[in-house]
Symmetry: C2
Subunit: 448 residues, 2 copies
C-alpha cells in the first residue's frame, strides 16, 4: 500500500478505545429498545433514486452509485445511498406488510450518507439509531407516548453522556392555532417560525409580515405561541390565553398535554422533557407529535434526536400504515464528545488479563491458562513474546490491562498491576472484580 | 410513498425473525473475538479509488460514488465503496500507526459492496466479520496459529449452523515446491491449479502443460502436491514422498504442520481443520498461511471464510506492518441458510411477556407492571388495545411470545400460553425460565 494516507473530511473514524464508547452507546440503545419489545432490522444501504428524491429538499445531498465500467453515467439502475432510515423503513414495511404483525415495533441502527458540507456534528457518513411503531390503517396516540418513553429510558441509561433536553410539540396544535387565526398558508408560516432558533424575534416578525403576508397582530400571536415552553401541562393555559379557538388546536393541546404528563415519572436531572411550541420540523412529513432534542453543552449543533408522528408516509394506495418514530444521531452525539471531552474506554483492548510467557516453549501452558479463563467469559491474551516480566507488565500497562498472570513451577499467581498486589490464583476459579471485567468509560480529563 | 415496491437483486433484506439469527451470529462472533483480546473497530464505507483498484482483478466490481448535482461524472473526489475490510484496515493501520499498540488485534463486522452478478451466497451488499493481527516490522508465526484458533473457537460456538471444514495451506510450501521443481512462473501455475475445484484433473493437467509450459512429469508432481489432504501432520511425509527439496518448502511444511497440530484440541465433529495442499487463494496478497472454509452441505458456494498471512500489504515506505487475518462471510453463510433451512427465531419480537390490558383507563397500571419487569431486564410489551383476553392471548401467540400477564383486583397472574398454566405472580420478583428469556434459534422444519 502506497503512502499519501489522510483522513477524509466528513467520514469520521475512531480509535479502538473511542469505538468502544460508540459501541457502548449502541449496545445500551439496543438493550433498551429490546426491553420494550422492539425487534431489530436492517435495510439495504441503497434505494431507488425516485424513492430518495421524494423529499425535494435533501435531493442535492444524495450519493449516487455507479459501477466502474458501467456505460451509463446515470447511476447504477438509478440507485443512491440512503440519507436516513425512515424512508427505507417505510419502503420495507410496504414490501413486507403481508409478513409483519401490526403494530410493528422496530429499531434500526445503521449508517446513512449525505453529501453535505462537513462540520461539527454533521458528517457525510454517520450512524443513526431509530425506533418506530407502525400500525395498519390506525395507530392510537398512546404509541406516541410509548416511543417518547422508550427514548427517554434509553437516554437515561446513557449515563456517561451529558444531559438531554427533549423538546416536544404537536403539528395539530400549530395547524389548529393557525387555522383559528385564519392563516391559509400554514406551511409557509411554519417555515418562517422555524428560523426562530437562528434569527432574532424581530427579524422573524418582519418576515411573517412581509413574506408570509400576516398582519402585525396575527404575527404577534403566532410568535406568542412559538415562545411558549413548559415542563408540565401549564402550556395549555398559556395557549388559551392567546384567545384562539379551533377543533384541531384542542386535539393537539390534549395530545401534547398527555405526552408531557405521561413522561413525568421518567424525567431526571439529566433527561428532561419540555413542551416547546416553536418546534415544527420544517418541511418533514409529520402530522402530529414532533420531537427535537438538544445535548447539554452542544446546543449549537441543533437537534441530535428528532422525529414525530407520520400518518401518511407509507401507503400502497389501498392501505395506509401510520407511524411514529424517533431517531438518535449516534455519530452526531459521540464524535463531537470524543473530540471535546476525551471520552474514552479505560483500556484499549477487551482483555482483562495478560497471561505472561516464561519462555517460547511454555506457550502451550500459557495458552491453557487463557483457554480456562475464556471458558468462564474472562477476556484475556497471552503475551506476544517471552520478554523480561517487567516488560510484559509494561505491555499490559500500555493497553490499560489491569492484571498479569504468572505461571511457575510452584503454581499460578495473578498480579493487579495498579496496586502491585500479587496473589495465588487458579485459572478455573479466579474471577476479576465485576468492575474490571469489561472496559468502562471515562474521560481523559478525569483520568489525569 | 408510491407503490411499485420490489426487492433489489443482490441486496438481501431479512424479516425481523431472520435478522435475529444474523444478529446472534454477529454477537457470538463479537463475544468470541473479545474473549481473545481483539478490539472492535469500524472503517468508513468509502476509500479513494486508487486504493481500491490496487487489486486489478476486482476493479470492475467497485461501486463509485457521485453526488447528484455534481459536475464531474468521474465520481465524488474519486471515492468508491469498499469491497472488503482488509484493504480499508491496512489503510487504517497506516493512518493511525502512531496511536496503536502492536501487535494490534482487531475485529471488524461491517458491510461491503461488489457490483458482481448476484447468485446464492454472492451478494452486491454483504456483511463480513474479519479478525486480523498486525505487527510492526515483524509478526511471529504463532499469531497465524492464534487467528486460526480464534476462528475455530467462534465457529464451534455457532452451534445452530451446519458444520465447517477449514482448509489450510501455506504459500511458502507451494512456492518452495515449485522452486524445487525449477518452475519459474509459480503464479501462473498456482492460477491454473486453483481451477481444480471447478475442472477435471485431466483438464487442469493439459492446461499446466499447454498454458503454463510444464513438462508432463512436472505437471504430475504439481498435481500430486495439490491432491494431498490430511487432518494431521501426515501430509509432511506425503509431500516428501514426491521427492522435491527446497529450503522454502521446508519452512512451509514446518509452519503448516505446526498450524494443524496446534488446532487439534479445538477440532470437533462440526468444525474440522484440514491441511489441503490445493488451496492457494489465487492472485491475493498472501505470503504464508492461507485459509479457505467450506460450509457442510453448501460446498458449491465455495469458500465462506478465507484469509491468510500477508507480510507486505501495509507499508508506508519506512515501516512494514505484516499481518495475518481471516474473514467470515456472514451474509454468505446466513442468507442461503435462512432460505434453504427456514432457520428462524422462536419469536418475532424480543418480548417474553405481553402485559394484558383490562380497559384503556388501566393502561398506566399495565405500564407499571411492564416497567417493573424491564427494571429486571425482562423484555415485555403492553397489549395495544383492551380487546377480550382471548384476543390478547392470540396477539401474543402470533408473535410467539410465551407469557401473558393479567392484572385484576385480586392480584396479578401470569399464564404460559403454551401449557395453559396460570400462576400468581409479582412483577418485582417473577422471572421466566432462562430458556424463555430471549428468543432462541430454531428451524421451521423442526418446529412443525
Amino acid at each position: 500500500m502506497a503512502t499519501k494516507i489522510s483522513p477524509l473530511s466528513g467520514f469520521p473514524e475512531l480509535l479502538p478505545e473511542q469505538r468502544y464508547v460508540e459501541q457502548q452507546v449502541i449496545d445500551t440503545l439496543r438493550h433498551t429498545f429490546e426491553l420494550h419489545g422492539f425487534a431489530g432490522i436492517e435495510t439495504r444501504a441503497v434505494e431507488p433514486l425516485d424513492q430518495l428524491l421524494r423529499k425535494g429538499d435533501t435531493s442535492k445531498e444524495v450519493y449516487l452509485l455507479r459501477r466502474l465500467h458501467e456505460e451509463s453515467a446515470e447511476g447504477h439502475a438509478g440507485l443512491g445511498l440512503h440519507f436516513d432510515l425512515t424512508v427505507p423503513f417505510a419502503r420495507y414495511v410496504l414490501e413486507n406488510a403481508g409478513k409483519l404483525e401490526f403494530p410493528f415495533r422496530r429499531y434500526q441502527v445503521q449508517k446513512a450518507w449525505r453529501g453535505e458540507r462537513p462540520q461539527e456534528g454533521r458528517y457525510r457518513e454517520f450512524t443513526q439509531a431509530d425506533i418506530d411503531i407502525i400500525g395498519r390503517d390506525v395507530l392510537p396516540f398512546h404509541h406516541d407516548v410509548e416511543v417518547t418513553r422508550v427514548m427517554v429510558d434509553a437516554l437515561n441509561r446513557l449515563d456517561f453522556l451529558p444531559g438531554f433536553r427533549l423538546q416536544v410539540n404537536n403539528r395539530k396544535l400549530i395547524q389548529g392555532f393557525y387555522a383559528g387565526l385564519g392563516i391559509t398558508d400554514g406551511d409557509e408560516v411554519m417555515r418562517v417560525v422555524d428560523k426562530l432558533d437562528k434569527l432574532p424575534t424581530e427579524r422573524v416578525r418582519s418576515m411573517l409580515v412581509e413574506e408570509a403576508g400576516l398582519d402585525g397582530a396575527t404575527a404577534d400571536r403566532v410568535l406568542g405561541l412559538a415562545t411558549i415552553r413548559a415542563t408540565d401541562d401549564s402550556f395549555v393555559a398559556a395557549v388559551r390565553a392567546l384567545g384562539v379557538e379551533h377543533e384541531l388546536l384542542e386535539e393537539g393541546l390534549a395530545e401534547l398535554a398527555e405526552l408531557v404528563s405521561s413522561c413525568a415519572d421518567l424525567v431526571s436531572d439529566r433527561v428532561r422533557v419540555e413542551a416547546d411550541l416553536s418546534i415544527a420540523r420544517g418541511l418533514d412529513y409529520y402530522t402530529g407529535t414532533v420531537f427535537e432534542t438538544r445535548l447539554d453543552g452542544y446546543e449549537s449543533m441543533g437537534s441530535i434526536c428528532s422525529g414525530g408522528r407520520y400518518d401518511a408516509l407509507a401507503s400502497d394506495g389501498r392501505t395506509t400504515y401510520p407511524g411514529v418514530g424517533i431517531s438518535l444521531g449516534v455519530s452526531r452525539v459521540v464524535v463531537p464528545l470524543l473530540a471535546r471531552t476525551g471520552l474514552t474506554a479505560t483500556r484499549r483492548v477487551p482483555s482483562v488479563v495478560v497471561v505472561a510467557l516464561t519462555d517460547e516453549g511454555s506457550r502451550p501452558a500459557s495458552e491453557a491458562v487463557a483457554h480456562a479463563l475464556r471458558a468462564r467469559d474472562i477476556a484475556c491474551e497471552v503475551a506476544p513474546s517471552p520478554q523480561k516480566f517487567g516488560k510484559q507488565i509494561r505491555f499490559a500497562e500500555r493497553r490499560g490491562i489491569p492484571y498479569v498472570w504468572f505461571l511457575s513451577d510452584g503454581g499460578h499467581q495473578v498480579k493487579d498491576i495498579r496496586s502491585g498486589e500479587q496473589v495465588d490464583a487458579d485459572p478455573t476459579t479466579w474471577t476479576p472484580p465485576a468492575e474490571d471485567l469489561r472496559p468502562t468509560i471515562t474521560s481523559k480529563e478525569q483520568n489525569q
